[in-house]
Symmetry: D3
Subunit: 234 residues, 6 copies
């Protein structure tokens, strides 16, 4: 049956690739990699305006127990993002400002956690970005085993240790480590296209022309009328 393990060494993607994924942001990376890897909107930022990308150090915790997060601190390196999954639904505060201080001291640049957090004002003040299920001060214990740096599943997304996690105001997306270079390439192509599109749309060009949607609307039976029909049904 399931062993509980703490894995010391994990592979990581190229820091330059990670940084460029981060600057593209969640929505663009999610699109560029084929609309996969997105966490649900229930894992939301506690701050506004943060955008990070880093390598996932993963934690599988018992709900309401943060002992494995303490174990994970030792495994964190510069540029890592801690990703905490729980084995059952939970809104306990898994992390507060002390644990965040410890994570940061070891290089961690942010936290994604499928549970609650607390000391939210302090976390924002110390600019340690967090994406969590809720803000709630309810305290945890240190009594149940779990694992660090194993495959986890969080809010509908699978994460392996070393995968690239991108997070911003839109949520969190996971890029498989093996796909990072290819996804970056697709991302940068997409960014270039978006830039060109933005300029045309700003100038007033219409997406229905631009994307060739008029024919599709016609084929779907959408009719253009000068005024609303006078009959009862809309």
């Amino acid at each position: 049956m399931e062993r509980n393990v703490v894995v010391r060494n994990i592979p990581r993607a190229d820091p330059a690739v990670i940084a460029r994924l981060g600057s593209a942001g969640v929505a663009t990376v999610y699109e560029a990699q084929g609309r996969i890897g997105l966490l649900g909107p229930d894992i939301a930022p506690i701050q506004s305006g943060a955008r990070i990308a880093g390598s996932a150090v993963t934690v599988e915790s018992h709900p309401g127990d943060n002992i494995m997060i303490h174990a994970a601190v030792e495994m964190v390196g510069p540029g890592d993002v801690l990703v905490v999954a729980v084995t059952g639904p939970s809104i306990y505060a898994m992390v507060g400002d002390l644990l965040a201080t410890s994570l940061r001291a070891h290089g961690c640049i942010g936290l994604v956690v499928d549970a609650g957090i607390r000391d939210s004002a302090e976390l924002i003040e110390m600019a340690f970005p967090v994406w969590s299920r809720t803000i709630h001060a309810q305290g945890t214990v240190k009594a149940h085993p779990g694992s660090v740096n194993v495959a986890v599943s969080i809010s509908g997304a699978a994460v392996d240790p070393g995968d690239v996690v991108v997070a911003d105001d839109d949520g969190v997306v996971v890029v498989r480590r093996a796909d990072a270079v290819a996804v970056l390439e697709a991302t940068e192509q997409r960014l270039a296209t978006e830039e060109a599109t933005r300029a045309r749309l700003e100038s007033g060009e219409l997406g229905v022309d631009f994307y060739g949607l008029r024919a599709r609307l016609h084929d779907m039976g959408v009719e253009y009328l000068d005024t609303r029909p006078t009959s009862a049904e809309s």
Copy 2:
């Protein structure tokens, strides 16, 4: 059966009336028009501090499909608010920064949408105010017909094209176009009354005196006691 139509021309209320409704804000307008037309709190602002009023250009979309929003851009004029209803529950991102850029280029001043949006940081940075069900990057398709400028229903409120939409940090309220002048009149009377009331309350006068509630409290059997009763029940 239902036709899918895009209606080009809609009536609009007097821009001066719209502007004055906007400056009064959601709560006052909602009260002034007899406590109707309010959307539920599930459609919430993604930013704080925005307050807008405009004419509704309405969209009825298939969930997870934003082709009709592209069709709607062409129908938007200066000062309009896009109101997007869906034919089934959805948290897909119906609008991102590119579509917002296009809407703004045609004069649109804000968006009310019964679904998700993405690029939230960019939308806030470009000061394009949005009221939505959630923030979520999940992408849409362009495959199902819908309508533009038909009567829609969104979060419990009915909206006709050309109705006045007022939105701020408290949510969104819809004023029927035909009622706009009368509602404005009631709104401005209410504002004047509120101003006078505020001054009296600031000076320490009590609402129980001011609104004549002491007699009502007495009639309902509410007793005033100097200290808590010592018996077990409160």
Copy 3:
């Protein structure tokens, strides 16, 4: 059966004790008093960055009716926090800027309410902090009796009039008046300990060493591995 009463005089804790509890914040006070008295995360701040502590003036209201809040204004004194419980689930706006103006004129420093509020922009602008279930403009009536300064229950926490309410970005915690001094003592011990811990964690010391967790992890069967196991199961 239940009488509806308005109680004029309530005991209060020592203002100096209240102030020091307030500066410690919700998470620390909640921990210091043995993890009790915390409201659920459904009662959340409408602003960010506020931290208050005060004596509870309690209101038991019929859902959708704010007449008892008007009655409560007269009972509020400087430094009090109004705590409004409802006898059934509700998202009506129980308080807006006028009532907040009146509360403040009588010394009230904040509001905790198990329902909605409105005029949220105005409340934030006037720096009157609020913890509520939702923001929603839906209006109330003044038609059903209730009580002021009786024992109430709100979001899982019991509150007696005169209890100390501490509220910040993490939520709301209630300290029994009779426990206030003892809880403060425990709180300040905890703060001192936290400060020392923070310094050690900032310097890179590990919580697993610091808190003596290595033995516990070992006893629970957690194994340390240098790399991920190659077998199928994680």
Copy 4:
């Protein structure tokens, strides 16, 4: 501004058409009319196994107030379904067994209500089917005006008085009265097709063959493999 009215006479669809729509059920009618008119899953049956169809007598109520339902009883005729919308979110019990007894005495065959109900055991025992937002005993008042037999919006669907309401274990769908005959025709075609399809599927034929999906899967890049790839990524 909005008038509050009780409309005595409404048009209704042909009872034979209504009955045949009812026997087809919600999912089939919803599909047959082009995937519109479906209420959200938040309006759910309190019983299992009921399936009804009838003409909508509509009510627009203040939340927590059922006076307009009393007014509506007089307007109900044999075979009608009462559809109760509210002007704001609510979980009050709008109907209990007494009101259901009264509705039934006037011919009403069921209730769809965007709020709570109570006496659920008695309602099930008397076989009066109900689709509601929740079961909750919280009581209403009779203090706010509303309307009977006006256009309403409920859980994302618009309903006019006299529209056909079909409800079963899958939820509730609304067929516009003017569309009832055409929708019935499409429904019965669909039923016939479904029957044929069912027979073929029962015999083991595959939908991928039957619906011609193999080519589509191929075009979308889906590969068929004999065994799972051995590489790390799935």
Copy 5:
């Protein structure tokens, strides 16, 4: 600060009074006692058709810990209902079929719990009725102190040990022990009135006449029309 206690002896109401309250059901008792004491609809029956009344043996538990329920079994007597409150939100299974077997062996007739339960099929089969927040198999620990037979608060209702708990398909209502006789009297008067009302409504009499609502509707400005107005607004 809070002591954790297990109280052996509690007062109970007269069994005959309890039984008659039980036969009246939740909605009637709730109304008869002035619309107080009702738990929110989030605490719902796992079975259908059960109706019980008994004396509350109360438990205050740490979330995810059921040791105090084990302690409570010894304090349960014939006809008691176990009422389990938690000090923080939780969906853990606090009770399964073994604990229910133990509770029943000591006379307990049902369970109200602000958390999850499991072995739901077995509980229904053994006819041990349960009202809970959810059904979920997630397991608990036995590691945190709590109390038995102290005042608790559950889903918005306060419960003292020995209070009368009535529960059925509509939910759960609490009658203060000291009020039980008076509430029973009011309940039986209400039942008599309801019976008479039911007969008149069954015969087709209208509530608008019966309750004298026509004048009220008129005073509120509700107009009766023979047909829908032809103008645009409803």
Copy 6:
């Protein structure tokens, strides 16, 4: 990047092992395997009284698209359970009675799906058990690629093709195929223990004695009192 694949052959556990796991039920298996593998309570049975166990055939679908379920039918064998994960939140009806008919024709004994289903009455009547997020008739398309028989994540649990899925009224639990024999052994030991425990509890023995909890309660500071303390605090 992610390939979309349909895998034809998957390993399965021994049918005798699967059957015995099934007869033990969700709660017991979940406990026996160390409290892992449980889906959240949001995936709930649409029927009551069903209990199944089978080998997982997994599907990863785009939300609102069921083409991959059609592809999966061909891969289903006798005794399999279809497990459908989605790449984003969704309440669309992914399966109705036709698709269930087809699944059954190929040996499938039940469905676990992180989305909606429809034709619920028909599914119950044909005794095809389903665990889903909701019941909702909203229709899907067949337009987006996905995979069959890859590793998926559903409601917090990871599932590999060929894992054992046990589902009953308490929810759904997943046993890793490689662990099935060991988990069965632990399960049957647990069943035997439970049987002995049940007999002792039925006879009135107390869990506090039986499980040796009295010492633990004492150590945690829980005091036994004959009557409630008379002071104000409980």
